[in-house]
């Protein structure tokens, strides 16, 4: 693996994109972030985790936040530093309370076809925090951290 290199292109390191609420727009944004990770020598496991987290955050922002109204925008901000990757996703919806989302890993919810996005983000990123109204999520993945942030065993029943 190459030596980690600090992002010196921008003093803060943040890049920002504004996406329409269109699911087909997600892939290109992911590619740009992932190529930046590859440039700085982040490994495949980390790139998989970050891709999954971005995908789930953008899907949630478009589907649940913006209710698939294409005129509404989603803001994706990211910075890739030597020691960590930070992602912010904000939608124009009314927000929500993450604590109210049912745990999709418990037996009675396993057959539900949706509701796994937040759980995946929390599992694969090291830090996931929401703004007070839930319309913006901030995620951090540290270089070299395990692919999964925590095993789900503790929450099984």
């Amino acid at each position: 693996m190459p030596e980690p290199t600090a992002d010196i292109r921008d003093p803060t390191g943040w890049s920002e994109e504004v996406l329409p609420t269109r699911l087909s727009a997600i892939r290109e944004s992911e590619r740009r972030v992932l190529s930046r990770l590859a440039e700085l020598g982040y490994g495949e496991d980390c790139r998989f985790a970050v891709r999954l987290a971005i995908e789930e955050a953008l899907i949630n922002a478009m589907k649940h936040g913006n209710r698939m109204e294409e005129s509404r925008k989603v803001r994706l901000a990211y910075r890739v530093l030597a020691d960590r990757v930070e992602i912010r996703v904000a939608d124009e919806g009314a927000g929500f309370q993450p604590a109210c989302i049912p745990d999709p890993t418990v037996d009675e919810n396993l057959q539900r076809p949706c509701g796994r996005g937040i759980m995946l983000m929390r599992s694969y990123m090291d830090e996931v925090t929401y703004s007070a109204n839930g319309a913006e999520v901030h995620m951090v993945k540290y270089r070299g951290s395990p692919v999964r942030g925590f095993p789900p065993e503790g929450r099984r029943r």
Binding site: R27, L52, Y124
Partner: protein, 110 residues
């Protein structure tokens, strides 16, 4: 992502190649539900060449699983690669789907 169906014995094998991301889940839904509409009751999803799967595509698999179980059939997963296997464990969907090391054993259920 490329998704297609091939017949193997009495099973319809749905092969998923590449990334089953949200942009590709419509195609996955079309292929899987198309097989169900054509009367398939024994489905094996070959994940050996699947390098990514989003929650949206997982939802498609679950929907198809429920439909095929409702008519007394099965939908089994074959040969997910390590990152996908771990994702199935993380979501505990390995407790919903039967996961096999290859298509042949998935088709046999052994």
């Amino acid at each position: 992502m490329k998704a297609y169906v091939r017949q193997e014995g009495s099973c319809q094998v749905v092969v998923v190649e590449g990334s089953a991301d949200v942009a590709a889940s419509a195609r996955l839904r079309e292929v899987l539900l198309g097989a169900l509409d054509a009367g398939a009751t024994q489905i094996v999803c070959d994940l050996s060449k699947t390098d990514f799967i989003s929650s949206d595509a997982l939802g498609v698999l679950i929907t198809a699983y429920l439909k095929v179980h409702g008519r007394g059939g099965f939908l089994r997963l074959a040969n997910p690669q390590p990152r996908l296997r771990e994702l199935l464990q993380t979501t505990r969907l390995d407790h919903l789907f039967d996961v096999y090391p290859d298509v042949a054993s998935a088709a046999e259920g052994a």
